[in-house]
Symmetry: C2
Subunit: 264 residues, 2 copies
């Protein structure tokens, strides 16, 4: 089926998910919406997050997408259930795929989730994992320094990265965990560094990468895959002009991106 996949985030973070969908499913087209006008969502109420997310999802559905990915842990925590009930097309988030992969990957049933303050405080991963497998112990660690560091200009300095990891992940190595979940869509940019930090005996899981896998699972069972290379152009929409968005999108996707500003 030739329709696009709608990918939503409050800002640039979801681009790591879009990038993974492009890598795993090169036949598919993506329509991306970044609600940069209202970014970040972390300090908003649940009702506000539902309102903003719903507006963007409706915009994407009106553009004809065949499924929606909430490529944002905050929006997933606040709005996924509401939107799944409201709309007929498949809507998935990033939390559940990451949780399922952690359940699959851990062998000693001890998992650490790294995320923003909002995600860590919401315990959304703990709840998802507990619902499926209550034998697993989940630790949460907020890493508030990561997002501004990742979004900062220029290439990420190796030494500065090492230092920020050392400060942020302090005391997490001795929790006895064998699996770490990157519970924020920005963090895959630091994945190799985080893997180095923890060493080869600890598996590092990117929720966004797992979400891309589950896009394929959902499309597969719904028989909605685009089977031939006959796709349209990826499109990028933002709710307010943002040079920062275009710069980061161009860097992360490795091609010139100029998002269209739309009022919704």
């Amino acid at each position: 089926m030739n329709n696009a996949i709608g990918v939503f985030d409050s800002g640039v973070g979801g681009l790591t998910v879009a990038r993974e969908i492009m890598r795993q499913l090169p036949n598919e087209t993506i329509y991306y919406f970044g609600d940069v006008k209202n970014c970040p969502y972390g300090d908003k109420t649940k009702e506000e997050i539902i309102k903003y997310t719903d507006r963007a999802v409706k915009f994407l559905i009106d553009k004809g997408v065949k499924m929606i990915v909430l490529a944002c842990n905050t929006a997933t925590a606040a709005a996924l259930d509401y939107l799944q009930d409201k709309y007929d097309i498949p809507i998935i988030g990033v939390v559940q795929p990451g949780a399922r992969r952690a359940i699959q990957a851990t062998e000693n049933n001890k998992v650490l989730v790294l995320g923003t303050k909002f995600t860590a405080n919401s315990k959304v991963y703990d709840i998802e994992i507990e619902n499926i497998n209550s034998e697993i112990l989940v630790f949460d660690k907020a890493c508030p320094a990561f997002v501004p560091f990742i979004e900062s200009e220029g290439n990420l300095d190796k030494e500065a990265t090492k230092n920020i990891l050392k400060e942020s992940l302090n005391n997490t190595s001795n929790l006895g965990i064998d699996t770490v979940v990157l519970g924020c869509t920005h963090y895959p940019i630091l994945k190799k560094d985080i893997e180095e930090y923890y060493g080869s005996s600890i598996k590092v899981i990117s929720s966004g990468r797992e979400a891309a896998r589950e896009v394929s699972t959902v499309l597969g069972y719904a028989k909605l895959h685009q089977k031939k290379l006959n796709k349209k152009e990826h499109k990028f929409y933002i709710s307010e002009a943002s040079e920062n968005f275009n710069n980061i999108a161009s860097k992360w996707l490795n091609k010139e991106i100029t998002a269209e500003v739309v009022e919704i």
Copy 2:
């Protein structure tokens, strides 16, 4: 939802999938059907495989299962589409989950699938992967010596295992692959040995383990998960008395299993 998950195989192989479902999803109950009377399926026609598989699936559905896993590569290749069209409950196979994980895991787009002669000749993994991501090159290798070796009595001798891997996997290391799919539900019994054989730079994927993950995905989106530990006893059915089935089941699941013989 308290209903069981139906797991079907022509024999014992699917028990590795059942075991993974038990490990990842300890809240869930399994009803297993092994069609030992008609095992193996590999030398049967597509029509016969559909007939036998359909009969077992109908038996499990009559027992009230909420979803079906065709824990057999041959039955998946021959009967999955037919059964998905025929029945209303979710039915998944082992091939697609393994294919999707291979797509996710490979970084150099070169994947090797190990399987029975039937699976290798059917090119079922090649077709599934090609449908989703035509940039990936898939090699197939039949390993007909593995199943009789794995089913043989007693514990698998380390030296004998090494020899059989060396003979069967000869010339596959130099294909340039970075990902190997165990495309037969027996092979996870040799997973650690196969990982040792290929070394740490090549990822080894078990289709059954990925199927268990997708059971969780499908139950999650259909909101069919059993959320509390309130499960029933796992049950095992076979189509003909078989000491071999009970012995292998008891060994692989690490508890005494006596399957009920049923005529269907």
